[in-house]
């Protein structure tokens, strides 16, 4: 009798769990992606950016970055020599500063730069922005496969360069594994493939490969020496620090 009761409870829990998983709505899934992607309080690391042209020729850029929450970041190039020292400070409300060592002062960047590719990569400034997906997009669950959910994201802002995004999301860990970007004419323009690893309690996108389908050009972004929750303060994300 005890065994039967236990079996019924287990079945109930299992069924309940399955029902709850399939019943998850798109908003919940997107919120969970944000939780996975943006839950660290802060983050520091190094990044290697490999640009691959259609002939397979590669160029490498390296940079270090610090980030707090999802709206404060300093990204500073260390190589190649022609770009070393160039840094971008991103703050809330699309406030961005560019520091060019040759000029010795910061320069405010107009928010129209978000339309453009970041430092010759296939990522736009907009793609690089770490604003939560749930703030930028309206989701729709369009399919569920064995290990993944497939979401369609529609930009909330009419100024977005994209008409929609198709995102494949890992069912258990809720990180994106693949993204398709469609332009305003609904043409697929870019594809991103993600590889995640767990560092401490957080999932880290250790490699992102973005392919521009029109240019047949790829950018690989490899993260290393990533540290989370080191206690960065707001003082680290100021023009004062940008110029140091």
């Amino acid at each position: 009798m005890r065994n039967l009761k236990s079996t019924i409870v287990s079945l109930f829990l299992l069924t309940g769990g399955m029902l709850s998983a399939s019943a998850q709505d798109a908003n919940t899934i997107l919120k969970k992606i944000d939780d996975v992607m943006y839950s660290p309080k802060d983050m520091t690391g190094e990044t290697k950016i490999i640009l691959i042209d259609k002939a397979g020729k590669q160029k490498t850029r390296e940079a270090n970055f610090i980030q707090k929450g999802n709206d404060k970041r300093i990204f500073r190039f260390t190589t190649p020599a022609s770009q070393a020292g160039i840094a971008v400070l991103s703050l809330p409300n699309d406030v961005m500063y560019l520091y060019l060592p040759a000029f010795g002062k910061e320069r405010r960047i107009s928010s129209s730069v978000k339309n453009q590719n970041f430092a010759g990569t296939d990522f736009s400034y907009d793609d690089m922005e770490s604003k939560p997906y749930s703030e930028k997009y309206t989701p729709k669950l369009i399919n569920t496969e064995e290990d993944i959910y497939i979401l369609e994201l529609t930009p909330k802002s009419p100024k977005s360069a994209y008409s929609r995004l198709i995102v494949k999301v890992h069912k258990t860990n809720y990180y994106p594994t693949y993204m398709e970007y469609y332009d305003r004419g609904n043409k697929k323009t870019k594809v991103a493939v993600y590889q995640f690893e767990k560092i401490g309690k957080y999932w880290n996108a250790k490699e992102i490969e973005m392919t521009d389908l029109q240019k047949n050009h790829k950018t690989k972004m490899l993260m290393s020496d990533v540290k989370y929750d080191t206690g960065l303060t707001d003082d680290e994300f100021t023009v004062r620090k940008l110029k140091q």
Binding site: L51, D53, K59, P80, A81, S82, A84, N93, D94, V95, F103, G104, K105, R107, R108, I109, S110, S111, S112, V113, N115, Q116, N117, G120, K159, A161, K215, H217, D234, D235, F237, T238, R240, Q244
Partner: protein, 461 residues
């Protein structure tokens, strides 16, 4: 046994601490050497295509973080510039003239972060104190001496030997104080543009200028005469960066205060000997920068108030030898009245990679006094191709109006199209032209005989 255990623990701790210090020093205290090699060659388009500029510059930058709270930085130019100026054979024994070169310390300073209090940064030594939010041309940027050697490189300044203190009230508001103990004048253009910024003098009828020479009166090198001080309050509000500034300094381009006229022939030819000086002035500045609807916008203004009226005396006594008294003529070269130079600008990045920059400026670097300020419109459109390897700027240059009431006879056009190509990650080749045209009395009209092609190769390391 207990003692041995304790000793082992201490050794392990000491080794561990030492190894961490060594690692920190290795990472943070490393001297970084970087720089670039630039060759800049220009020739005139007009036959016989004289060479207009020859510069080979090695820039060396040394950057060392001494501790977590201090840093040393220096930038040195080692250059071969100009063309050999050889007239006499003995000069051929002087390598410095046969192959002209120079060494210039552009910057060399130590910076202390969190000095005395965590909110104060101090920078001591030769440094660039770049003020203003406008693009390259900044009316409020008056602490460093102008480097006018290359008139086409608008807005270039030399380093100033200064102490600069930045106090940060919080992440948005700060106060900067700058003190420059001695005056450093602007260096003037060289080569074919040597007289570009020299203002023309109206001569009495029948006189022709045959020769001119002069003497510069530098301020005495003491704190009250020679020093410059500046203060700037900087902030961020309602999405805009802004600043208010004040400078008590001297205008770095000399002004003629006493001219002695001497006849050199019976045909009205004269020689003028001028005495030049640098006048004291107050400069009140303000600027702001932000973004409206995706368009970057900025505005910057500087109000100049000379300490005294500047009188120019022409001594014509030598032209009137029979006169029993000296014959002199006084005119006001600069009134003791505020005149304001300002600039308004905007830029936009298009989705296709194009970039547009527009600026309207009232009052150029060398213009002084309310009535002498001209209007300048600058525009640049550029677009990158082939993964940013190729950059083409088909539209670049300016339009200048020196007299709106007779616009057709008082304007100048500067057209500087440019193509640059990143041959490798660190090698950039730039080909451009500078074309000038116009009418009237305007600095850029005087350049119309100097249309040129320019070639630059920059290699960064």
């Amino acid at each position: 046994m207990k003692q041995i255990g304790l000793t082992v623990i201490i050794i392990v701790i000491v080794l561990s601490v030492n190894s961490n210090i060594a690692k920190a020093q290795d990472d943070g205290n490393k001297m970084k050497l970087s720089g670039e090699l630039l060759t800049d060659q220009r020739f005139l388009l007009e036959d016989p295509n004289d060479w207009a500029w020859n510069e080979n510059r090695l820039t060396l930058k040394l950057n060392r973080k001494i501790t977590g709270n201090s840093r040393f930085y220096s930038e040195v130019w080692l250059r071969n510039i100009g063309l050999p100026d050889i007239i006499f054979p003995e000069v051929l024994y002087n390598k410095g003239i046969v192959d002209p070169y120079n060494l210039e310390v552009r910057e060399a300073y130590v910076q202390l972060f969190g000095f005395l209090t965590k909110n104060l940064d101090v920078k001591i030594g030769r440094q660039r104190i770049a003020w203003g939010t406008a693009d390259k041309l900044n009316p409020t940027d008056n602490l460093n001496p102008y480097d006018l050697e290359d008139v086409i490189d608008f807005g270039r300044h030399r380093g100033a030997d200064a102490i600069s203190l930045d106090y940060y009230f919080n992440s948005e508001f700060s106060l900067q104080g700058v003190f420059i103990p001695f005056f450093q004048p602007a260096n003037m253009p060289v080569g074919i543009f040597a007289n570009a910024l020299t203002s023309s003098m109206e001569l009495p009828g029948g006189m022709t200028l045959m020769e001119s020479s002069g003497r510069v009166h530098m301020p005495r090198y003491n704190l009250s005469e020679s020093s410059t001080a500046g203060l700037k309050f900087k902030g961020f509000a309602a999405g805009f960066d802004f600043s208010l500034s004040y400078v008590w300094g001297r205008d770095g381009i000399p002004i003629s205060t006493y001219n002695t006229f001497t006849p050199v022939d019976a045909m009205g030819g004269i020689r003028i000997f001028s005495q030049l000086s640098y006048y004291r002035t107050h400069i009140f500045g303000a600027d702001l920068a932000g973004s409206i609807g995706g368009v970057g916008v900025w505005a910057e203004a500087a109000a100049f108030l000379p300490k005294n009226e500047v009188i120019m005396t022409n001594n014509l006594s030598a032209l009137y030898p029979m006169s029993p008294v000296p014959v002199t003529q006084d005119t006001t070269a600069l009134e003791k009245k505020i005149y304001t130079k300002f600039i308004l600008g905007a830029d936009y990045n298009f989705a296709n990679g194009a970039y547009l920059n527009f600026q309207y400026m009232h009052g150029f670097i060398n213009e002084r006094g309310k009535d002498a300020l001209n209007d300048y419109f600058f525009v640049r459109l550029e677009k990158k191709f082939f993964e940013d390897k190729l950059k083409i700027a088909p539209v670049g240059g300016g339009f200048i109006v020196s007299d709106w009431s007779d616009f057709g006879n008082n304007y100048a056009i500067i057209y500087i199209p440019e193509i640059s190509y990143m041959a490798t990650d660190n090698a950039e080749i730039t080909l451009s032209a500078a074309l000038f045209n116009g009418k009237g009395d305007n600095m850029f009209v005087n350049f119309k005989d100097y249309n040129m092609m320019m070639f630059k190769l920059k290699y960064s390391f």
